[in-house]
């Protein structure tokens, strides 16, 4: 069995524990494209999408499996931005960011990557706040979802360690 750690590390001072500043900013910008927020809907930053992701990667089982996949996609996306728009992805206006993501969506491998980032953002929106997202149960309140009991008392950290 792989050993998972249930110890939670936090990203401090807006710095990522795992990503470079450039990757961190790119990821934040992608999450905001996925969940931009509106009149009644919360945005990715407000729900804690980045905190959710950092906690996800603080568990070795998940980091081993998925970190490089996420990191490589961020770098491919930012390279596209630099090549086509001569700017980092996160420095582009919203329309240009969306257009680059739409192009990404058309390519099989990049679509898999985008699907995974969407999945993790949806998880951040609607998971139990014990996992670091869904701040103040904002996602549940928005979609009028009532949590069921018993709720988890600790986050699942990989393999059977979370049991």
């Amino acid at each position: 069995m792989f050993k998972g750690s249930s110890k939670i590390q936090e990203n401090r001072d807006g710095k990522s524990l795992f990503f470079s500043d450039e990757e961190f900013n790119t990821l934040g910008a992608v999450q905001n494209c996925i969940l931009p927020g509106g009149v009644s809907s919360p945005d990715a930053q407000a729900i804690g999408a980045m905190t959710y992701l950092e906690r996800f990667f603080s568990y070795p089982d998940f980091k081993d499996q998925y970190f490089i996949f996420i990191q490589d996609g961020l770098n491919r996306l930012n390279k596209n931005a630099l090549r086509k728009k001569n700017k980092n992805f996160y420095a582009l206006d919203v329309e240009d960011r969306e257009n680059l993501l739409l192009e990404f969506e058309k390519e099989g491998f990049n679509r898999d990557w985008l699907m995974f980032v969407i999945a993790l953002t949806v998880e951040a929106l609607l998971s139990d706040p014990i996992y670091g997202g869904n701040k103040n149960e904002m996602g549940w309140k928005w979609l009028e979802y009532s949590p069921k009991f018993p709720r988890p008392t600790k986050p699942y950290a990989g393999s059977m360690n979370g049991v």
Binding site: L35, A119, M160
Partner: protein, 562 residues
């Protein structure tokens, strides 16, 4: 020879539990080996991330690998519309097995399902055989399972009703959402039969088990009240309470050892990786269809060079899965008012309705096997619901404002009604379990290599049923109706690989599910099934395991004086 127990059972799910229960009740000593951990109500939570999204009760592919090869379903091998729910076909691994995380929609097979070959004739590339027993042989045990497992429901008469030895279920049905009555009214108008669905869920407290708490989080989740009739809570815990059953969790069986055409012991790795043995008079395999076949193949010896109990060469063959598809429709709250709106907004999670009007159907002169349509509400797992919205169209993902709008529409402004279809998985000669030549597990043993080929008739039946589902939703006035792709091989309902039959040349087990080749070996998981009916077959596995337990008790000398 000194025995550790009268009977040793490998695997503790729907196949193992009834044998442990019956043998312990009959006065015999039993040891159950289970490779997963012992988890119970206190270990279960409504934790969507852990239990549903990351499937924490299923082995990780990296830790317990398998080699899975999926062949496209069409004969020229070009197109596959089949989607897979999971990539390694493992289901829950813990004491009580997959029954801990089942939804518990329980159906009996129909008398005609036991003689499909005689009824419909042979099928090209489909190895369909009649069962060596009939419905009446199994009926007393379906009935016994209702009482012991705790199956709740309501019997109604309809053209596809199975004969019953008792007039009704021992437990009243669990509470239903008002939409169930909408389904009933639609069926009546259209001349169809809307059938209440039995659940392996207690509607009232019984036998030290709590009643259902109506979270609706049944499938994929462990039950936190004990209402769900898992093998652990309904069978193993009462067996242990007799003082004659011992459960050894985290015990992975390595090999079954023979001497003079009899099994003498099983060899297993304990939690720490040390090799241990259990010596018994009788052995029962119930490790689920894939692992049971693997273990028999791993237990090859000089006497059985092709694998234990495999003189027929049939171990691992005739693998099949319940083939399913589905669909959904929505009722927009804005279009309803008054009582109808109040009914729609009711938070009750269970719909529990099914249609079996098309269990068989005719096209032209020919009669075909159709199946069951099960109607249900969303499992209240918001992340999975949201992902179904975001990923509905793989070529055009939903994100941004469009995603927010669609999520609000699904969660806040409407009620979704879903259906699932169950068609016979016809065993295809290209579907089988073998040992992989190179990949090994953490103990150095060859892993299962599973090749899946779904029969085109199973896909055709599923497409046919999905269209019927669409008609029902349309007749109900649902909007935004969508059909989902066929799912040919999910880990939930796996069978075949050690088929039972009267001919030792073409089957692994005899009619009592005892190996043709070995007098003290039985198999009681879904492996024995030649054809599983157009229903989920968990109740059938439970019932058959109770039946086989009686055969084992007979072989051991009958009820023991305690």
């Amino acid at each position: 020879m000194a025995f550790d127990a009268d009977v040793c059972i490998v695997g503790s799910g729907a196949g193992g539990g009834p044998v442990a229960y019956s043998l312990a009740q009959a006065g015999y000593s039993v040891i159950v080996l289970e490779k997963g951990p012992y988890l119970s109500e206190k270990d279960f939570f409504k934790d969507e991330i852990g239990e549903a999204i990351r499937s924490k009760f299923r082995p990780f592919s990296l830790v317990e690998p398998r080699v899975i090869r999926r062949l496209p379903e069409d004969e020229d091998g070009k197109i596959s519309s089949i989607e897979s729910l999971d990539n390694n076909l493992w289901n829950a691994t813990m004491v009580g097995g997959s029954t801990n995380i089942m939804s518990g929609f329980f159906f009996r097979m129909k008398p005609k399902d036991f003689a499909l070959r005689s009824l419909l004739g042979s099928v090209k590339n489909g190895n369909v055989e009649d069962w060596p027993i009939n419905y009446q042989d199994l009926e007393p045990y379906y009935s016994l399972a209702e009482k012991v497992i705790g199956i709740s429901g309501r019997q109604v008469s309809h053209p596809q009703s199975e004969p019953r030895s008792s007039p009704d279920f021992p437990y009243p049905p669990v509470a239903e959402h008002p939409l169930a009555h909408w389904v009933d009214h639609t069926a009546k108008d259209q001349g169809w039969y809307s059938l209440p669905v039995a659940r392996a869920i207690l509607s009232q407290t019984s036998k030290n088990r709590g009643a259902c708490s109506y979270t609706g989080m049944c499938g994929m989740y462990g039950c936190t009240t004990g209402a769900k009739g898992s093998s652990r809570v309904a069978l193993l815990e009462p067996a242990v309470a007799t003082g004659r059953c011992e459960i050894r969790a985290e015990a992975t069986v390595k090999k079954i050892n023979m001497r003079s055409r009899k099994i003498v012991e099983v060899e297993y790795f304990d939690k720490d990786g040390s090799v241990k043995f259990v010596k018994a008079k009788m052995f029962v395999l119930a490790a689920q269809a894939i692992e049971t076949a693997r273990l028999l193949l791993l237990s090859a010896s000089t006497e059985y060079p092709n694998g234990l109990a495999n003189s027929s060469g049939q171990v691992g063959k005739n693998l099949f899965f319940s083939v399913g598809g589905g669909g959904s429709g929505q009722f927009s709250y804005a279009k309803y008012s008054g009582n109808r709106l109040r009914e729609l907004r009711n938070p009750q999670p269970f719909l529990n309705r099914a249609f079996q009007d098309w269990y068989f159907y005719e096209q032209g002169e020919k009669k075909y096997k159709g199946g069951t349509l099960l109607f249900l509400l969303d499992n209240p797992s918001p992340i999975l619901s949201a992902m179904s919205v975001a990923f509905e169209n793989k070529n055009s993902l939903l994100w941004g404002e469009q995603l927010a709008k669609s999520l609000k529409s699904k969660f806040v402004d409407s009620k979704t009604i879903n259906f699932e279809t169950f068609a016979d998985g016809i065993p295809h000669p290209k579907s089988h379990v073998t040992l992989d030549a190179s990949m090994k597990d953490r103990f150095g043993l060859p892993v299962a290599k599973v090749q899946v080929k779904t029969h085109k008739n199973s896909i055709a039946a599923t497409k046919f049923l999905k269209e019927k589902g669409r008609s029902i939703l349309q007749a109900m006035g649902a909007e935004n109706i969508k059909l989902s792709p066929e799912i040919s091989a999910s880990a939930n309902l796996v069978a075949g690989t050690c088929r039972f039959g009267n001919n030792p040349r073409t089957s692994v087990l005899n009619a009592d599910c005892r190996a043709h080749d070995v007098d003290n070996l039985y198999v009681t998981d879904g492996s024995f099934i030649p054809s599983g009916g157009s229903v989920p077959f968990t109740w059938t596995i439970y019932a058959n395991a109770f039946r086989v337990a009686d055969k084992i008790i007979q072989q051991l000398g009958g009820l023991k004086k305690i």
